[in-house]
Amino acid sequence: MGVAEEVKGELEAKFPKELKSSQVLRPRAIRVRIDRKDLLPLAKHLKAAGFEHCSCISAVDWVTRYESVYHITSWRRNVLVEIVAEIPHDDPVIDSVYAVWHGADYHEREAWDLMGIRYEGHPNLERILLPRDFQYHPLRKDFPQEVDRQYISRRKLGGG
Protein backbone atom coordinates (compact mmCIF):
# COMPACT_ATOMS: atom_id res chain seq x y z
CA MET A 1 0.00 0.00 0.00
CA GLY A 2 1.53 3.28 -1.02
CA VAL A 3 2.14 6.14 1.31
CA ALA A 4 -0.71 8.11 -0.27
CA GLU A 5 -3.20 5.40 0.56
CA GLU A 6 -1.78 5.26 4.06
CA VAL A 7 -2.30 8.92 4.61
CA LYS A 8 -5.76 8.77 3.10
CA GLY A 9 -6.65 5.97 5.44
CA GLU A 10 -5.30 7.88 8.44
CA LEU A 11 -7.30 10.97 7.58
CA GLU A 12 -10.49 9.07 6.94
CA ALA A 13 -10.09 7.32 10.25
CA LYS A 14 -9.49 10.51 12.16
CA PHE A 15 -12.04 12.74 10.44
CA PRO A 16 -14.75 10.44 9.14
CA LYS A 17 -17.54 13.00 9.02
CA GLU A 18 -15.56 16.05 8.08
CA LEU A 19 -14.07 14.81 4.82
CA LYS A 20 -16.60 15.36 2.10
CA SER A 21 -14.53 13.39 -0.32
CA SER A 22 -11.03 12.08 -0.62
CA GLN A 23 -9.16 10.62 -3.55
CA VAL A 24 -5.67 9.52 -4.41
CA LEU A 25 -4.30 11.67 -7.27
CA ARG A 26 -0.90 10.12 -7.71
CA PRO A 27 1.24 7.64 -5.83
CA ARG A 28 2.33 10.48 -3.58
CA ALA A 29 -0.57 12.88 -3.53
CA ILE A 30 -4.11 12.86 -2.17
CA ARG A 31 -6.92 15.35 -2.32
CA VAL A 32 -9.57 15.93 0.35
CA ARG A 33 -12.53 18.27 0.30
CA ILE A 34 -13.79 19.78 3.51
CA ASP A 35 -16.00 22.55 4.70
CA ARG A 36 -14.30 25.65 6.00
CA LYS A 37 -15.07 25.07 9.66
CA ASP A 38 -13.07 21.83 9.73
CA LEU A 39 -9.90 23.39 8.44
CA LEU A 40 -8.10 24.16 11.67
CA PRO A 41 -8.45 20.73 13.33
CA LEU A 42 -7.34 19.04 10.13
CA ALA A 43 -4.38 21.40 9.82
CA LYS A 44 -3.29 20.78 13.38
CA HIS A 45 -3.55 17.04 12.90
CA LEU A 46 -1.47 17.18 9.75
CA LYS A 47 1.20 19.30 11.41
CA ALA A 48 1.46 16.79 14.21
CA ALA A 49 1.57 13.91 11.73
CA GLY A 50 4.74 15.25 10.16
CA PHE A 51 3.50 17.59 7.45
CA GLU A 52 5.88 20.45 8.10
CA HIS A 53 5.79 22.37 4.87
CA CYS A 54 2.94 24.52 3.62
CA SER A 55 3.65 24.62 -0.10
CA CYS A 56 0.88 26.81 -1.37
CA ILE A 57 -2.47 28.31 -0.50
CA SER A 58 -4.59 29.17 -3.51
CA ALA A 59 -7.90 30.94 -3.72
CA VAL A 60 -10.30 30.10 -6.52
CA ASP A 61 -13.51 31.91 -7.39
CA TRP A 62 -16.11 29.45 -8.67
CA VAL A 63 -18.93 31.94 -9.05
CA THR A 64 -21.23 30.15 -6.61
CA ARG A 65 -18.57 29.55 -4.01
CA TYR A 66 -14.97 30.29 -3.14
CA GLU A 67 -12.39 27.63 -2.56
CA SER A 68 -9.23 27.92 -0.51
CA VAL A 69 -6.89 25.17 -1.66
CA TYR A 70 -4.03 24.11 0.56
CA HIS A 71 -1.09 22.04 -0.63
CA ILE A 72 0.71 20.66 2.39
CA THR A 73 3.88 18.60 2.01
CA SER A 74 5.79 16.27 4.22
CA TRP A 75 9.48 16.21 3.36
CA ARG A 76 10.00 13.33 5.69
CA ARG A 77 7.31 11.04 4.34
CA ASN A 78 7.45 12.50 0.84
CA VAL A 79 3.72 12.91 0.32
CA LEU A 80 1.46 15.85 -0.43
CA VAL A 81 -2.07 16.52 0.77
CA GLU A 82 -4.29 18.86 -1.17
CA ILE A 83 -7.07 20.26 1.01
CA VAL A 84 -9.92 21.98 -0.76
CA ALA A 85 -11.91 24.08 1.69
CA GLU A 86 -15.21 25.39 0.41
CA ILE A 87 -16.31 28.86 1.40
CA PRO A 88 -19.74 30.36 0.71
CA HIS A 89 -19.66 33.15 -1.78
CA ASP A 90 -21.41 35.77 0.28
CA ASP A 91 -19.27 35.27 3.37
CA PRO A 92 -15.64 34.86 2.31
CA VAL A 93 -14.08 34.21 5.70
CA ILE A 94 -12.03 31.26 6.82
CA ASP A 95 -9.64 30.43 9.62
CA SER A 96 -6.03 31.23 9.14
CA VAL A 97 -3.48 28.49 9.47
CA TYR A 98 -0.68 30.91 10.29
CA ALA A 99 -0.44 29.56 13.80
CA VAL A 100 0.09 26.06 12.41
CA TRP A 101 2.45 26.85 9.55
CA HIS A 102 4.15 30.25 9.56
CA GLY A 103 4.81 29.78 5.87
CA ALA A 104 1.14 30.50 5.24
CA ASP A 105 1.79 34.15 6.03
CA TYR A 106 2.39 35.59 2.59
CA HIS A 107 0.07 33.15 0.81
CA GLU A 108 -2.92 34.23 2.87
CA ARG A 109 -2.06 37.86 2.43
CA GLU A 110 -1.94 37.35 -1.31
CA ALA A 111 -5.27 35.53 -1.31
CA TRP A 112 -6.80 38.39 0.67
CA ASP A 113 -5.21 40.95 -1.62
CA LEU A 114 -6.21 39.43 -4.94
CA MET A 115 -9.30 37.43 -4.11
CA GLY A 116 -10.73 39.05 -1.02
CA ILE A 117 -10.97 36.03 1.30
CA ARG A 118 -10.49 37.07 4.90
CA TYR A 119 -8.32 34.83 7.02
CA GLU A 120 -9.34 35.11 10.64
CA GLY A 121 -6.43 34.99 13.00
CA HIS A 122 -3.77 36.17 10.62
CA PRO A 123 -1.53 38.63 12.47
CA ASN A 124 -1.08 41.10 9.65
CA LEU A 125 -3.69 40.67 6.91
CA GLU A 126 -2.69 43.53 4.61
CA ARG A 127 -2.28 43.92 0.93
CA ILE A 128 1.00 42.61 -0.28
CA LEU A 129 1.24 42.87 -4.06
CA LEU A 130 -1.12 45.72 -4.81
CA PRO A 131 -0.91 49.22 -3.39
CA ARG A 132 -2.25 49.70 0.14
CA ASP A 133 -5.11 51.89 -0.96
CA PHE A 134 -6.32 49.76 -3.86
CA GLN A 135 -10.07 49.29 -3.62
CA TYR A 136 -10.79 46.06 -5.42
CA HIS A 137 -9.92 42.39 -5.40
CA PRO A 138 -8.89 41.84 -8.99
CA LEU A 139 -8.89 38.06 -9.28
CA ARG A 140 -12.59 37.84 -8.58
CA LYS A 141 -14.63 36.95 -11.59
CA ASP A 142 -16.68 40.12 -11.34
CA PHE A 143 -13.60 42.28 -11.78
CA PRO A 144 -13.44 42.98 -15.49
CA GLN A 145 -10.81 41.36 -17.60
CA GLU A 146 -8.37 43.36 -19.61
CA VAL A 147 -10.02 42.39 -22.88
CA ASP A 148 -13.38 43.60 -21.60
CA ARG A 149 -11.96 46.89 -20.53
CA GLN A 150 -9.97 47.31 -23.66
CA TYR A 151 -9.23 50.93 -24.16
CA ILE A 152 -10.50 51.90 -27.55
CA SER A 153 -8.06 54.22 -29.22
CA ARG A 154 -9.17 57.41 -30.84
CA ARG A 155 -7.91 56.10 -34.09
CA LYS A 156 -10.32 53.20 -33.94
CA LEU A 157 -13.16 55.46 -32.87
CA GLY A 158 -12.42 57.70 -35.79
CA GLY A 159 -12.76 54.75 -38.11
CA GLY A 160 -9.06 54.29 -38.78
Binding site: L25, R28, A29, E52, H53, C54, S55, C56, S58, A59, V60, D61, V69, H71, W75, N78, L80, E82, V84, W101, H102, G103, A104, D105, Y106, H107, E110, L114, R127, I128, L129, L130, P131, P138, L139, F143, Q145, E146, V147
Partner: protein, 371 residues
Amino acid sequence: MAEVGAAAEHGDSMWINMGPQHPMTHGLWNLKVRVDGEIVVEALPEIGYLHRGVEKISEVREFHKVIALTDRLCYVSSITWSHAYCLAVEELMGVTDQIPPRARYLRVISNELQRVASHLMWLAAYGPDLGILTGLLWALRDRELFLDLIQAMTGMRMNQNYPRPGGVRNDIPATFERDCTKVVKHFMGKLDEYEDLLGSNKTFHMRTKGVGVISPEEGTEWGVTGPNLRASGVACDLRKLDPYDAYDELSFEQALDKDGDSFARYAVRMEEMRTSCDLVLQALKKLPKGPYRMKAPRRAEGEAYRRTEDSRGEALFYVCGDGSDRPYRVKIRSPIFCTMSAVPTIMRGERVADVISIMGSLDVCVGEMDK
Protein backbone atom coordinates in the same frame (compact mmCIF):
# COMPACT_ATOMS: atom_id res chain seq x y z
CA MET B 1 18.70 56.63 -3.33
CA ALA B 2 17.32 56.60 0.16
CA GLU B 3 14.96 59.32 1.19
CA VAL B 4 16.81 61.34 3.70
CA GLY B 5 13.84 62.12 5.82
CA ALA B 6 12.60 58.57 5.98
CA ALA B 7 14.09 57.89 9.38
CA ALA B 8 11.55 57.38 12.11
CA GLU B 9 13.51 57.46 15.29
CA HIS B 10 12.52 54.82 17.79
CA GLY B 11 14.76 55.58 20.66
CA ASP B 12 18.20 54.61 19.48
CA SER B 13 17.22 52.78 16.32
CA MET B 14 16.30 54.13 12.94
CA TRP B 15 14.66 52.74 9.84
CA ILE B 16 16.72 52.48 6.71
CA ASN B 17 15.19 51.88 3.30
CA MET B 18 17.18 49.54 1.13
CA GLY B 19 15.52 50.15 -2.17
CA PRO B 20 13.40 50.34 -4.22
CA GLN B 21 16.10 52.03 -6.25
CA HIS B 22 19.19 50.38 -4.97
CA PRO B 23 22.15 49.29 -7.01
CA MET B 24 22.35 45.88 -5.51
CA THR B 25 18.89 44.57 -4.75
CA HIS B 26 18.68 42.80 -8.12
CA GLY B 27 15.23 43.84 -8.98
CA LEU B 28 12.58 46.16 -7.76
CA TRP B 29 11.68 45.57 -4.15
CA ASN B 30 12.14 47.40 -0.91
CA LEU B 31 13.60 46.21 2.35
CA LYS B 32 13.03 48.33 5.40
CA VAL B 33 15.42 47.51 8.19
CA ARG B 34 15.33 48.93 11.65
CA VAL B 35 18.88 49.31 12.79
CA ASP B 36 20.32 49.74 16.23
CA GLY B 37 23.91 50.76 15.62
CA GLU B 38 25.13 48.04 13.30
CA ILE B 39 22.64 45.34 14.24
CA VAL B 40 19.35 44.82 12.45
CA VAL B 41 16.47 44.75 14.89
CA GLU B 42 13.64 44.28 12.45
CA ALA B 43 13.28 43.80 8.71
CA LEU B 44 10.19 44.35 6.59
CA PRO B 45 10.23 43.48 2.92
CA GLU B 46 7.91 45.45 0.68
CA ILE B 47 7.18 43.70 -2.56
CA GLY B 48 4.74 44.09 -5.39
CA TYR B 49 6.52 46.69 -7.46
CA LEU B 50 6.67 44.28 -10.37
CA HIS B 51 3.18 42.82 -10.07
CA ARG B 52 1.87 42.36 -13.59
CA GLY B 53 -1.30 40.38 -13.03
CA VAL B 54 -0.11 37.22 -14.76
CA GLU B 55 -2.70 35.09 -13.05
CA LYS B 56 -5.53 37.31 -14.20
CA ILE B 57 -4.31 37.56 -17.78
CA SER B 58 -3.83 33.84 -18.10
CA GLU B 59 -7.54 33.34 -17.61
CA VAL B 60 -8.24 34.86 -21.01
CA ARG B 61 -5.50 33.21 -23.01
CA GLU B 62 -5.53 29.73 -24.48
CA PHE B 63 -3.53 27.11 -22.67
CA HIS B 64 -0.52 27.27 -24.94
CA LYS B 65 -0.57 31.04 -25.16
CA VAL B 66 -0.06 31.37 -21.44
CA ILE B 67 3.47 30.08 -21.94
CA ALA B 68 4.52 33.50 -23.20
CA LEU B 69 3.45 34.82 -19.79
CA THR B 70 4.99 32.14 -17.62
CA ASP B 71 8.30 32.58 -19.44
CA ARG B 72 8.46 36.08 -18.15
CA LEU B 73 7.70 35.21 -14.56
CA CYS B 74 11.31 34.65 -13.77
CA TYR B 75 13.03 35.94 -16.81
CA VAL B 76 16.40 34.62 -15.75
CA SER B 77 15.12 31.07 -15.63
CA SER B 78 12.31 31.02 -18.17
CA ILE B 79 12.29 27.44 -19.39
CA THR B 80 11.84 25.97 -15.92
CA TRP B 81 8.77 28.11 -15.27
CA SER B 82 7.04 27.38 -18.54
CA HIS B 83 7.91 23.75 -18.09
CA ALA B 84 6.23 23.66 -14.69
CA TYR B 85 3.12 25.21 -16.18
CA CYS B 86 3.07 22.70 -19.02
CA LEU B 87 3.34 19.83 -16.58
CA ALA B 88 0.37 21.14 -14.61
CA VAL B 89 -1.68 21.55 -17.77
CA GLU B 90 -0.83 18.04 -18.86
CA GLU B 91 -2.01 16.77 -15.47
CA LEU B 92 -5.22 18.68 -15.97
CA MET B 93 -5.71 17.20 -19.41
CA GLY B 94 -4.74 13.78 -18.19
CA VAL B 95 -2.06 13.19 -20.81
CA THR B 96 0.95 12.88 -18.55
CA ASP B 97 1.61 9.28 -19.55
CA GLN B 98 1.42 10.04 -23.24
CA ILE B 99 4.28 12.46 -23.48
CA PRO B 100 6.80 10.99 -25.91
CA PRO B 101 10.11 9.91 -24.34
CA ARG B 102 12.15 12.17 -26.58
CA ALA B 103 10.16 15.14 -25.36
CA ARG B 104 10.80 14.18 -21.75
CA TYR B 105 14.54 14.02 -22.32
CA LEU B 106 14.59 17.25 -24.28
CA ARG B 107 12.80 18.93 -21.43
CA VAL B 108 15.41 17.64 -19.00
CA ILE B 109 18.22 18.98 -21.16
CA SER B 110 16.64 22.39 -21.62
CA ASN B 111 15.79 22.63 -17.91
CA GLU B 112 19.30 21.82 -16.80
CA LEU B 113 20.91 24.20 -19.26
CA GLN B 114 18.58 26.91 -18.04
CA ARG B 115 19.38 26.04 -14.45
CA VAL B 116 23.09 26.50 -15.06
CA ALA B 117 22.44 29.82 -16.80
CA SER B 118 20.29 30.94 -13.89
CA HIS B 119 22.87 29.98 -11.29
CA LEU B 120 25.55 31.77 -13.27
CA MET B 121 23.39 34.87 -13.30
CA TRP B 122 23.11 34.55 -9.54
CA LEU B 123 26.88 34.26 -9.25
CA ALA B 124 27.36 37.25 -11.52
CA ALA B 125 25.10 39.27 -9.25
CA TYR B 126 26.53 37.93 -6.00
CA GLY B 127 30.17 38.71 -6.70
CA PRO B 128 29.75 42.48 -6.94
CA ASP B 129 27.59 42.41 -3.81
CA LEU B 130 30.65 41.37 -1.93
CA GLY B 131 33.12 43.39 -3.92
CA ILE B 132 34.52 40.91 -6.41
CA LEU B 133 33.77 42.60 -9.68
CA THR B 134 35.87 40.02 -11.47
CA GLY B 135 33.27 37.41 -10.59
CA LEU B 136 30.64 39.38 -12.50
CA LEU B 137 32.55 39.19 -15.74
CA TRP B 138 33.65 35.61 -15.45
CA ALA B 139 30.14 34.39 -14.69
CA LEU B 140 28.60 36.40 -17.51
CA ARG B 141 31.26 35.17 -19.89
CA ASP B 142 30.37 31.58 -19.08
CA ARG B 143 26.67 32.31 -19.13
CA GLU B 144 27.05 33.48 -22.73
CA LEU B 145 28.10 29.96 -23.68
CA PHE B 146 24.95 28.53 -22.21
CA LEU B 147 22.76 31.17 -23.73
CA ASP B 148 24.25 30.28 -27.08
CA LEU B 149 23.40 26.64 -26.47
CA ILE B 150 19.87 27.52 -25.48
CA GLN B 151 19.57 29.66 -28.57
CA ALA B 152 20.70 26.77 -30.74
CA MET B 153 18.13 24.57 -29.05
CA THR B 154 15.14 26.85 -28.81
CA GLY B 155 15.78 29.84 -31.01
CA MET B 156 15.99 32.50 -28.27
CA ARG B 157 18.37 33.36 -25.46
CA MET B 158 15.79 34.36 -22.90
CA ASN B 159 11.99 34.01 -22.74
CA GLN B 160 12.23 31.20 -25.21
CA ASN B 161 8.60 30.04 -25.38
CA TYR B 162 9.90 26.48 -25.71
CA PRO B 163 7.90 23.95 -23.64
CA ARG B 164 4.41 23.08 -24.81
CA PRO B 165 1.61 21.04 -23.25
CA GLY B 166 2.44 17.76 -24.89
CA GLY B 167 6.15 18.16 -25.42
CA VAL B 168 8.45 20.85 -26.69
CA ARG B 169 8.16 23.24 -29.55
CA ASN B 170 10.96 22.00 -31.78
CA ASP B 171 13.62 19.38 -32.05
CA ILE B 172 17.31 19.97 -31.51
CA PRO B 173 19.56 20.63 -34.49
CA ALA B 174 21.88 17.93 -35.74
CA THR B 175 25.05 19.51 -34.40
CA PHE B 176 23.61 20.19 -30.98
CA GLU B 177 24.94 17.12 -29.28
CA ARG B 178 28.50 17.81 -30.35
CA ASP B 179 28.37 21.48 -29.39
CA CYS B 180 26.62 20.87 -26.11
CA THR B 181 29.08 18.22 -25.01
CA LYS B 182 32.00 20.47 -25.86
CA VAL B 183 30.61 23.46 -24.00
CA VAL B 184 29.54 21.51 -20.96
CA LYS B 185 32.90 19.78 -20.62
CA HIS B 186 34.69 23.12 -21.00
CA PHE B 187 32.48 24.66 -18.36
CA MET B 188 33.07 21.90 -15.86
CA GLY B 189 36.74 22.83 -16.04
CA LYS B 190 35.87 26.48 -15.52
CA LEU B 191 34.06 25.62 -12.31
CA ASP B 192 37.45 24.94 -10.75
CA GLU B 193 38.47 28.50 -11.56
CA TYR B 194 35.51 29.72 -9.58
CA GLU B 195 36.71 27.59 -6.70
CA ASP B 196 40.01 29.45 -6.84
CA LEU B 197 38.44 32.87 -7.08
CA LEU B 198 35.72 32.43 -4.51
CA GLY B 199 35.55 29.09 -2.80
CA SER B 200 39.03 29.04 -1.37
CA ASN B 201 39.31 32.80 -0.94
CA LYS B 202 39.93 33.66 2.68
CA THR B 203 38.17 36.99 2.43
CA PHE B 204 35.13 35.35 0.84
CA HIS B 205 35.00 32.99 3.79
CA MET B 206 35.19 35.93 6.16
CA ARG B 207 32.23 37.55 4.47
CA THR B 208 30.00 34.51 4.07
CA LYS B 209 30.70 31.96 6.75
CA GLY B 210 28.37 32.20 9.68
CA VAL B 211 26.36 34.91 7.98
CA GLY B 212 22.62 34.57 7.54
CA VAL B 213 22.22 31.15 9.08
CA ILE B 214 18.88 29.46 8.45
CA SER B 215 18.24 26.49 10.66
CA PRO B 216 16.37 23.59 9.03
CA GLU B 217 13.37 23.98 11.34
CA GLU B 218 13.14 27.68 10.66
CA GLY B 219 13.45 27.14 6.94
CA THR B 220 10.77 24.47 6.76
CA GLU B 221 8.46 26.43 9.01
CA TRP B 222 8.61 29.53 6.84
CA GLY B 223 8.36 27.75 3.53
CA VAL B 224 11.90 28.12 2.26
CA THR B 225 12.71 25.56 -0.44
CA GLY B 226 15.33 24.81 -3.01
CA PRO B 227 19.04 25.46 -2.64
CA ASN B 228 18.38 27.74 0.34
CA LEU B 229 16.92 24.83 2.29
CA ARG B 230 19.33 22.23 0.99
CA ALA B 231 22.13 24.38 2.36
CA SER B 232 20.62 23.83 5.80
CA GLY B 233 20.61 20.08 5.41
CA VAL B 234 17.03 19.23 4.44
CA ALA B 235 16.85 16.83 1.50
CA CYS B 236 14.18 18.58 -0.51
CA ASP B 237 15.16 18.21 -4.14
CA LEU B 238 11.91 17.62 -5.96
CA ARG B 239 13.70 16.03 -8.85
CA LYS B 240 14.43 13.20 -6.46
CA LEU B 241 11.38 13.23 -4.23
CA ASP B 242 8.67 13.76 -6.82
CA PRO B 243 10.31 13.00 -10.16
CA TYR B 244 8.86 14.27 -13.38
CA ASP B 245 9.94 13.94 -16.99
CA ALA B 246 12.96 11.72 -17.27
CA TYR B 247 14.56 12.47 -13.90
CA ASP B 248 13.80 9.06 -12.49
CA GLU B 249 15.81 7.48 -15.28
CA LEU B 250 18.92 9.58 -14.68
CA SER B 251 21.27 9.19 -11.78
CA PHE B 252 22.43 12.15 -9.75
CA GLU B 253 22.92 13.25 -6.16
CA GLN B 254 21.24 16.23 -4.63
CA ALA B 255 23.62 18.83 -3.24
CA LEU B 256 23.38 19.13 0.52
CA ASP B 257 25.26 21.16 3.06
CA LYS B 258 24.65 21.44 6.73
CA ASP B 259 25.79 24.90 7.80
CA GLY B 260 22.94 26.94 6.46
CA ASP B 261 24.99 30.09 6.07
CA SER B 262 25.70 32.10 2.93
CA PHE B 263 28.77 30.05 2.15
CA ALA B 264 26.72 26.86 2.27
CA ARG B 265 24.20 28.34 -0.16
CA TYR B 266 27.05 29.26 -2.45
CA ALA B 267 28.55 25.78 -2.23
CA VAL B 268 25.19 24.12 -2.89
CA ARG B 269 24.63 26.16 -6.02
CA MET B 270 28.11 25.42 -7.33
CA GLU B 271 27.50 21.74 -6.73
CA GLU B 272 24.16 22.00 -8.48
CA MET B 273 25.83 23.46 -11.52
CA ARG B 274 28.09 20.46 -11.66
CA THR B 275 25.13 18.12 -11.25
CA SER B 276 23.27 19.89 -14.02
CA CYS B 277 26.18 19.54 -16.40
CA ASP B 278 26.35 15.86 -15.56
CA LEU B 279 22.63 15.45 -16.14
CA VAL B 280 22.87 17.14 -19.52
CA LEU B 281 25.59 14.79 -20.62
CA GLN B 282 23.67 11.77 -19.38
CA ALA B 283 20.47 12.89 -21.07
CA LEU B 284 22.25 13.52 -24.34
CA LYS B 285 23.62 10.01 -24.32
CA LYS B 286 20.27 8.46 -23.55
CA LEU B 287 18.21 10.67 -25.84
CA PRO B 288 15.71 8.38 -27.58
CA LYS B 289 14.43 8.91 -31.05
CA GLY B 290 10.87 9.68 -31.85
CA PRO B 291 8.40 12.52 -31.86
CA TYR B 292 9.16 15.54 -29.74
CA ARG B 293 5.57 16.54 -29.17
CA MET B 294 2.14 15.07 -28.95
CA LYS B 295 -1.02 16.90 -29.76
CA ALA B 296 -2.57 17.88 -26.47
CA PRO B 297 -6.34 18.28 -26.28
CA ARG B 298 -7.70 21.73 -26.77
CA ARG B 299 -10.07 21.82 -23.84
CA ALA B 300 -9.69 20.66 -20.28
CA GLU B 301 -11.78 20.44 -17.17
CA GLY B 302 -11.02 19.82 -13.53
CA GLU B 303 -8.26 20.85 -11.18
CA ALA B 304 -4.67 19.72 -11.12
CA TYR B 305 -1.41 20.78 -9.59
CA ARG B 306 2.17 19.99 -10.44
CA ARG B 307 5.35 21.03 -8.66
CA THR B 308 8.88 21.10 -10.03
CA GLU B 309 12.33 21.95 -8.81
CA ASP B 310 12.89 25.39 -10.24
CA SER B 311 16.32 27.01 -10.07
CA ARG B 312 15.29 28.81 -6.92
CA GLY B 313 13.11 26.25 -5.18
CA GLU B 314 9.74 24.63 -5.38
CA ALA B 315 7.56 25.99 -8.15
CA LEU B 316 3.99 24.78 -7.91
CA PHE B 317 1.27 25.46 -10.46
CA TYR B 318 -2.36 24.84 -9.57
CA VAL B 319 -4.49 24.97 -12.72
CA CYS B 320 -8.27 24.76 -12.89
CA GLY B 321 -10.21 24.28 -16.07
CA ASP B 322 -13.91 24.62 -16.72
CA GLY B 323 -14.15 22.81 -20.05
CA SER B 324 -13.18 25.71 -22.27
CA ASP B 325 -9.90 26.13 -24.08
CA ARG B 326 -8.62 28.67 -21.55
CA PRO B 327 -7.61 28.00 -17.96
CA TYR B 328 -10.17 28.99 -15.37
CA ARG B 329 -7.55 29.75 -12.75
CA VAL B 330 -3.79 29.53 -12.73
CA LYS B 331 -2.17 29.83 -9.33
CA ILE B 332 1.59 30.26 -9.25
CA ARG B 333 3.61 29.39 -6.20
CA SER B 334 6.89 31.18 -6.32
CA PRO B 335 9.78 30.00 -4.14
CA ILE B 336 11.18 33.47 -3.64
CA PHE B 337 7.78 34.77 -2.50
CA CYS B 338 7.90 32.30 0.33
CA THR B 339 11.55 32.91 1.13
CA MET B 340 10.69 36.58 1.47
CA SER B 341 8.36 35.74 4.35
CA ALA B 342 11.36 34.19 6.10
CA VAL B 343 13.51 37.30 5.63
CA PRO B 344 12.49 39.04 8.87
CA THR B 345 13.51 35.96 10.84
CA ILE B 346 16.80 35.59 9.01
CA MET B 347 17.77 39.22 9.28
CA ARG B 348 17.11 39.69 12.95
CA GLY B 349 20.43 39.96 14.71
CA GLU B 350 22.59 40.29 11.62
CA ARG B 351 24.75 43.28 10.87
CA VAL B 352 23.64 45.89 8.38
CA ALA B 353 26.74 45.32 6.32
CA ASP B 354 25.69 41.69 5.87
CA VAL B 355 22.15 42.40 4.71
CA ILE B 356 23.14 42.72 1.09
CA SER B 357 25.30 39.64 1.30
CA ILE B 358 22.43 37.58 2.70
CA MET B 359 19.91 38.87 0.16
CA GLY B 360 22.37 38.08 -2.59
CA SER B 361 22.88 34.55 -1.35
CA LEU B 362 19.12 33.92 -1.28
CA ASP B 363 18.95 34.58 -5.02
CA VAL B 364 16.02 36.94 -5.23
CA CYS B 365 14.31 37.20 -8.59
CA VAL B 366 11.59 39.78 -8.41
CA GLY B 367 9.77 38.65 -11.53
CA GLU B 368 8.57 35.43 -9.98
CA MET B 369 8.06 36.99 -6.58
CA ASP B 370 5.60 39.58 -7.76
CA LYS B 371 4.03 37.58 -10.57
